[in-house]
Amino acid sequence: MANKEPNIGIVKDGKVRRFTKAGIAAHWVHTVTFLTLLLTGLSIYVPATTWIGNLFGGIQNARIIHRVVAIPYALFALVLLLVGSRQQMKEWLKVAFTWKKEDFIFSAKYIVTEFMGRHGDLPEADFINSGEKVNSILTVGTLFTLTISGFVMWFPETFPKWAVRLAYPIHDLSWLFMTSMLLVHMYLSLIHPKMRTALKGMTTGWVDEEFAKSHYPKWYRRVTGKDA
């Protein structure tokens, strides 16, 4: 499988090139827009967090910002990937949506061992492991469900009543699922002792070779041609 972006898999000074520049840009565009939408959404939608609206200059401003930021959220990351990182996007989606028995074993074992700071004998992961697959599927899936339902809620006069009414629970369920996944994703990248080094991949594009070998052995072998 030589399906890789030109730079991906290069080994230099004990590091492996893991992400493309466009992929990194897409990740952070998505991060900033999603978090802005989450905060404004919380101020609009949850009684206990109405005060967050003050950070955006009041609840009515928050409502406007929520709609304005929804546009780059819906489009920018997608465009960046399509234009600048189509190969890796395809590979990522292919891996994310391919599920085998070992993926379920991985997640079940990971949660009780590695996630809790213990060593676990886990099935070998490819570009991403099965927990990251869930994160990827939810991120892509809710990008669509949130965008479509949000669009219907934004222009209720344009759509039939049943669709507008259905958009609300879809929007609600989507952000709640995505947020619960995001909490775990952020915990692993910012706080978790063994995993937080992975953040370097998303800031520089490079990860430690040893980290890549132990966490993504199949991918490492595939893109570097070396033994893990």
Binding site: P169, S180, M181, F211
Partner: protein, 265 residues
């Protein structure tokens, strides 16, 4: 105690005194529109119009007949507007009146989209929803709603729910002699805080058909989607607390095996 507004359309003569009394008591501005060929004063509910009298002309063999229907909020006992309001701005009085707390309302319009009767309206300048509140300030002081107080024919009655339901049943038997298709509307449809004697099919009055009127999407949202989503977020938080305990408080044993971690050194 639960109260009921009982509207007998067979007694309504479309004087529209209720529209005026409502505007008067609630201090609502006049909403002057050009004549559009109908005697009906208001086309529908608006931010300044909480009650309207629908006027339908029906051609029959012996001439034209008028069908009048006084409309306002149904004050549903299972109120979709109240269920979907993200700020709990829509509340219920002990008498059963559904009213909006304007300080809490942010004008999101969820209630507008989900009300089966098309009642709530949001003012785009003030960002506040407004609708009939069954004159909650009057009824909690022992008065009757303004529309009921002013009605000269007794078409709008107000009282204890059981009394009104009994009155409606008695009246229905009488009305059916002249209007065989007459029905009671509002008890099954919205819980009975507002009861109607309708002489015709509900659609004639612009009302949804007989049967419970909470949209299925609202039920799916409130009874399934929201609880499932909340459990997901709760489970995540719990998982992270447990992980924090094992990673930082009760530190993991030092590893001696060959397994290499790329962790922070």
């Amino acid at each position: 105690m639960a109260k009921t507004l009982f509207i007998d359309t067979s007694k309504c003569m479309a004087c529209r005194g209720c529209e005026v009394a409502c505007k008067n008591w609630n201090d609502l501005a006049a909403d002057i529109r050009p004549f559009n060929g109908s005697y009906q004063t208001k086309e529908g509910f608006a931010t300044q119009t909480y009650t309207i009298v629908k006027m339908n002309e029906v051609e029959e063999a012996d001439g034209i007949r008028w069908i009048f229907g006084k409309r306002q909020c149904m004050h549903c006992t299972e109120a979709a507007c109240m269920m979907v309001c993200p700020k709990n701005a829509i509340q219920r009085s002990p008498e059963g009146a559904i009213y909006v707390d304007r300080d809490l309302c942010i004008g999101c319009g969820y209630c507008v989209q989900n009300c089966p009767f098309g009642v709530p309206k949001v003012d785009n300048n003030t960002h506040k929803m407004s609708k009939c509140d069954m004159c909650v300030s009057r009824i909690e002081n022992g008065l009757t709603p303004a529309c009921s107080k002013t009605c000269p024919t007794g078409a709008i009655q107000f009282g204890e729910r059981e009394d009104m339901l009994r009155a409606a049943q008695v009246r229905l038997a009488q009305v059916r002699k002249r209007f065989p298709r007459a029905t009671i509307y509002g008890n099954e449809e919205a819980g009975g805080t507002v009861l109607y004697i309708l002489t015709e099919d509900p659609a004639v009055y612009g009302l949804p058909p007989h049967g419970t009127q909470v949209p299925w999407q609202v039920k799916f949202w409130q009874y399934l989607a929201r609880p499932v989503g909340n459990v997901a977020v709760g489970a995540s938080v719990l998982l992270l607390l447990v992980a924090t305990w094992f990673n930082f408080v009760q530190k993991p044993p030092k590893e001696t095996g060959a397994h290499v971690e790329g962790g922070v050194k």
